[in-house]
């Protein structure tokens, strides 16, 4: 069996991401859950890397694992949960939860199946230049590794470039609207959390 390394890595990272995502729900200790979430972000970032989306991957680590989750951890530690709560399952809540999760899962499956290259082989191998089945009889090529292992190809535009151009030309207006929404949310948070002075 000829498995290209990108395919092995993809399944490895995907499995690890799923396991750590399960850990977020399974652990009763909030700090363990938060750390599992960090690990999950890391593995998803690794998959991004394998797909050649280096910028997205590193931003995932920098923003989510490096900043957002640290703030989570900060808050969770401050809470000082003395007695970790026992899991209480009520049937209606579980049913509603399952339904919502099923709908969401169906939606994601539908979207990912309609993506280009979703069905023929694993996406990380598809992101590499040549398909895996052609490579076995030709000389192996460093670009087979894909992502961070690949030797940088000269003259090719990086995904940072492509992403930046997309955001600031085609999707400029939605981007600006989103920024303003975030800004107003920030201002709102500060306004709510600040105590008014009584003088």
């Amino acid at each position: 069996m000829d498995l290209p390394i990108s395919q092995i890595l993809f399944y490895l990272f995907a499995l690890a991401a799923l396991v750590s995502a399960f850990g977020v729900v399974a652990f009763r200790n909030p700090v363990s859950s938060a750390m599992c979430m960090a690990a999950c972000f890391g593995f998803v970032a690794a998959i991004f890397f394998g797909l050649g989306a280096e910028f997205l991957g590193i931003v995932q680590i920098m923003v989510y694992a490096g900043a957002v989750l640290v703030l989570f951890l900060f808050v969770v530690m401050m809470l000082d949960v003395k007695k970790e709560e026992k899991l209480v399952v009520s049937l209606p809540a579980a049913l509603v939860g399952t339904c919502i999760a099923a709908v969401f899962a169906g939606m994601i499956t539908n979207v990912s199946l309609s993506l280009p290259g979703a069905t023929d082989c694993c996406p990380m191998a598809a992101a590499c230049e040549t398909p895996a089945n052609v490579q076995s009889n030709t000389t192996p090529n460093p670009s087979k590794f894909g992502g961070p292992l690949a030797a940088p190809k000269s003259g090719e535009r990086s995904d940072t470039h492509i992403l930046g151009e997309m955001i600031f030309t085609k999707y400029n207006i939605p981007f600006a609207i989103l920024s303003f929404a975030l800004l107003s949310a920030c201002v709102g948070t500060v306004a709510i959390s600040r105590k008014l002075r009584q003088d």
Binding site: V31, F55, I58, G66, V70, P142, S158, T160
Partner: protein
Amino acid sequence: MQFIIDCWNSVMGDPTWFYLITTIAKLALMFILLLLFVVLSVWIERRIAGWIQDRPGPNRTGIPIHLLQRFGSKEKQPLKKWLEYFGVPANSWIAKLCTWLRLDREIPLFGLIQPMADGAKLFLKQEMTPSYVRKGFFIAAPMFVLGPPLIAAAVLPFSSSVDTCYGAINMCVANLNIGVLWIFAFSGLSVYGLTLAGWASNSKFPFIGGLRATAQLISYEVAMGLSIIPLLMMFSTLNLQEIVQNQAENGWTLVPLWGEGLSLQRWVLLLPMCISFLIFVTSVFAEANRTPFDMAECETDLVGGYHTEYSSMKFASFFMGEYVAMVVGSALVITLFLGGWSIGLGADVCLADWAKAAAITGSDQAATCWQSILGCCAGWIVVLLQFVAFIVKLVAFVFFFVWVRWTLPRFRFDQVMKLSWLVFFEIAVINILLTAAILYFIQ
């Protein structure tokens, strides 16, 4: 012999194996370099501290002579015998000098192996894990401090690239297109180590230390990220190797004295670059948890901060992690602002041209023996020179780090936070706008 050469040729001729082998070699080199620099910076730290505080510092660590007796030497006073052998009288100035240098008691190494002695001490100490800690996180925390800076170093270019007959080797472990962000992302992860250490220790002072570390590191990460945006706008790439290459050709960011660096635009851009440099260097100090920003561990109010409950090698891991972070931070500063491996004054371009010309004359049929040898080695000589330039700059910047530590007093915590959010953040944002204006209006 011929078999080995054939084997080598066939393995290195395969691009995949060539890539793997060179990458692993570079990886090992970078790792050894970093760990050696940790040792070196500990030594620099202690000697400079002594120098600044007008005391000798650790200058005595040597190999004691009585160790020789342990290993079977019958000689009680080797110095006396040596002096007799060379016919030097026992009360002459040479004998006095030798005694003053403690040659009668030890083989002097001028304190150079002091870090080794420190390490041995930490190894031999009792490993204590208090009963009240949260064990898993307590053990994991030092790994989170030591690991991320080592990973972050992967994208640092320590030399330019060299052409071998099997292909080009780029002298940085991973030549990523997002090098700068890679370092930020991974050095940001070490905050987990500090936070978890503080929390898992389950005692008061480590917890406060951990909280302080979290707040400080997150704040300064923002300032650090914003401060280098002007630089990235100027170079319009995130690839560290390309940034250094550009500086080698067109003048370092702070010293634009050759190539295109002499243009009006670059000289006007010096103002935002200097602002960036100040903010960035200060943030690197804060990120490395060094004085004047060692809020997380200031022993006057927090005993030892987040590592109060740690002992032996777990403590040593924190210690090493901090020094690796310091070395990686210094390397990033010199890579972004002071030309990285570039020798400067346009010498890099000349050297590259010379290497190319030597390779061409060397491969010629009419070339003499020396010319062909030179043709093979020229690329490596250039790379080696650049590597030396990188190391020299790195040592100089580590010296600067230590110098600042023993010169400035520690800030108060509220001052640290104010500096980040009320001073650096605003200045960095204005700096970005200023750079954009300069790039747009002055061509």
